[in-house]
């Protein structure tokens, strides 16, 4: 997926709107703009951070959709890094979909993406799990909402990269 800088701004706005339509409460006031940060390398990054109710105000689930897009072509950008996270203190549950440190993960595991599925308060038997890359931020929001709606999955059923 490659976007122009204008299309990337639209994508960020659309992602935030989708998150809010799903009922995720963003850490922004009404009308407060979203921020796209431009790194010295020319890469652009953003984080959409919000919460979902969990019964008690103090233990809301945290939702994070963060991406970095690197320059590609003329006024183009392609998504190079992502972090999609659901952290639920109430259920002691974390579900995450990551792409970062490509070289390390490609060398170590032969893949560039990985996931996390764990009880944050305990010990995860597998630190890095595998599933196919997440298509885009829209799909990421669906995945995180699906994880929030459902009972926590049996993390042991997911393919562990450590045994590969």
């Amino acid at each position: 997926m490659r976007l122009t800088s204008v299309a990337l701004d639209d994508y960020v706005a659309d992602l935030a709107a989708l998150a809010e339509r799903y009922g995720i409460t963003l850490g922004l006031t009404d009308g407060e703009p979203l921020t796209v940060e431009i790194e010295a390398t020319g890469s652009r990054r953003f984080t959409i951070l919000g919460t979902l109710p969990a019964g008690r105000q103090s233990s809301n689930a945290i939702v994070e959709v963060a991406e970095t897009w690197r320059p590609a072509g003329t006024d183009g950008y392609e998504r190079s890094i992502y972090r999609y996270e659901l952290l639920e203190p109430q259920r002691d549950f974390r579900r995450a979909f990551h792409r970062h440190d490509d070289d390390y993960f490609a060398r170590r595991y032969g893949v560039v993406v990985h996931e996390h599925c764990e009880a944050p308060g305990g010990v995860a038997p597998c630190a890095h799990l595998f599933d196919p890359p997440v298509r885009d931020g829209y799909r990421a929001i669906e995945l995180l909402m699906s994880a929030w709606v459902a009972d926590p999955p049996d993390c042991a059923l997911l393919p562990c990269l450590e045994t590969v």
């Binding site: 799903y22 940060e37 305990g122 010990v123 709606v149």
Partner: protein, 89 residues
């Protein structure tokens, strides 16, 4: 714990419309829902609450320059061989 999702039948009852109408709302994108099968959807409770409160205003985007680079793997054992099992207090 409060119920986390509604079925299309429950949404139809709440809105006093038919389930076909609810499915049309879902398929048109007006009502966010998670697809379970061909005709089976789950509507997250917060999404339904948001739907009932009216349309979401699209936010504008601003730019800011930063000097650092994001660390997306913060807290992970990366580049140190086989990661140790995560032990989080």
């Amino acid at each position: 714990m409060p119920k986390r999702f509604l079925t299309t039948t429950e949404v139809a009852k709440e809105l006093r419309v038919s389930t076909d109408t609810v499915l049309r709302l879902i398929r048109s994108g007006s009502l966010p829902a998670l697809r379970v099968s061909e005709r089976l959807y789950r509507v997250p409770a917060p999404a339904f609450a948001r739907f009932k409160s009216g349309p979401v205003a699209r936010r504008r985007v601003v730019h800011t320059e930063v000097r650092d680079t994001a660390d997306y793997g913060e807290g992970e054992e990366v580049g140190r061989g086989v990661p140790e099992p995560l032990a989080r207090a």
